[in-house]
Amino acid sequence: MDDIEAPPGKRVLVVDDSSLVRLYYRSALENAGFAVEQAINGIEAMEKVLSEPFDLVLVDVNMPRMDGFTFLRSLRSRAGDVATIPVLMISTESGGQDVAEARAAGANFYLVKPVAEAELVRHVRVLAGVVP
């Protein structure tokens, strides 16, 4: 793995209903120099993005209460800068349907689980604007 660290202050919101999965992503991203916040579903994620600045949202598709697609569509329909936060969607679905729906909802990129740590960090760096 390369060891370019993220500039301090780049903030990522990790949204997944599984605490172990959140910890897995958080640990990988903090190790790469990002500041990480967490949310357990789309509703909590929306509250966080509306009250704090983030450079990227990493969101799971399947979650109880508000899923990733609903969150993303709702985010993109907001007024102001918050609507333009880069979003990386992660799903267990490798078929084309989720990819198409993610694109249509406004995802900047889409990864299928399992996501290796190095791969996750690479995409997050690009999307959060750490590397071009």
Binding site: S19, L20, V21, L23, Y24, Y25, N31, Q38, P114
Partner: protein, 289 residues
């Protein structure tokens, strides 16, 4: 005749038949069976409890115990369970889990499905946290499934410590520096507290392995770690515990025992499953008859 150990102490003398009565009581309540060879172990703990409760004699203490005054049974159980362990203990089983067992388990599940793992007894949390850490560090599919880890113990004091997740250097001796830095925070006195996310990801509950009603709350596990506890039970309790554990497993689910324990000698319900890293026991996929 046995007061060599009590040199200069105020220890209450406990007669052989009293120890026997006490052991019978302990067995009925917990299934833990201690023979004469464990006399020193029993006397030490019994003396501690007699002193802690301010009882003037064994007889007085035993009355208090039978009445369960101030939850004395629980305090007693806590003093009898051996709580010292460490992270990544018997790591060949953890390797077996990620190299072999989980592959077989998830082959029966959909992506995103739930994998349930039970650590019983979990003592002060080292084992369930080790399972979680090991999965995050060694299982590429960790984010592909919803993993539920439950840690249970009969000892409520141990469970409280498990939920707090504070450990000394000795408990962490098998972990790499990288893992310690990523998942632990120093909290002074050479102690480390495990990550809050990890603490929240494990459910800690009280369970008595030989109590079928207690155990009926625990179902649908894919994998159970039940290490170094059945050795404390006598044959009847051991068999009861094994049958209870069988019911807690999903068909095809696995159970890992301690390295000196063998399920084959306890119950015919399980099938032996041999892997490169460990021998484990499996609830057959389809029950016979």
């Amino acid at each position: 005749m046995d007061d060599a150990k009590g040199r200069g102490s105020q220890a209450v003398h406990i007669a052989a038949e009293e120890v026997q009565r006490f052991c019978e009581f302990l067995y009925r309540r917990t299934g833990m069976s201690f023979t004469e060879g464990k006399r020193y172990f029993i006397d030490r703990r019994l003396e501690d409890r007699i002193e802690a409760t301010g009882s003037p004699s064994f007889q007085a203490y035993f009355s208090l115990l039978r009445a369960d005054a101030d939850h004395e049974i629980e305090h007693l159980i806590n003093s009898f369970t051996v709580n010292e362990t460490y992270f990544y203990r018997e790591d060949h089983q953890l390797r077996c889990m990620t190299a072999s067992l989980l592959g077989a388990i998830v082959s029966r599940k959909k992506p995103g499905g739930t994998v349930r793992i039970w650590s019983v007894p979990c003592s002060t949390g080292e084992e369930p946290y080790s399972i979680a850490l090991w999965l995050m560090e060694n299982w590429p599919e960790v984010d592909n499934y919803s993993i539920e880890i439950v840690g249970s113990d009969i000892d409520t004091r141990a469970l409280k410590a498990a939920a707090e997740g504070i450990y000394g250097d000795r408990a962490l001796m098998r972990l790499s520096r990288g893992v310690i830095e990523r998942y632990f925070t120093p909290v002074g006195d050479g102690n480390h507290q495990i990550d809050e996310g990890l603490r929240n990801s494990i459910e800690f509950t009280r369970a008595n392995l030989i109590d079928p009603r207690d155990m009926a709350q625990y179902r649908d596990f894919d994998l159970i770690f039940c290490r170094n506890v059945l050795i404390y039970f006598d044959d009847a309790s051991r068999r009861q515990a094994a049958e209870n554990l069988y019911d807690c497993l999903l068909p095809g689910g696995y159970i890992c025992l301690g390295h000196s324990e063998s399920m084959s000698r306890i119950s015919p319900l399980f099938r032996v499953a041999r892997f490169a890293d460990a021998i484990v026991y499996q609830r057959p996929e389809a029950d016979h008859g």
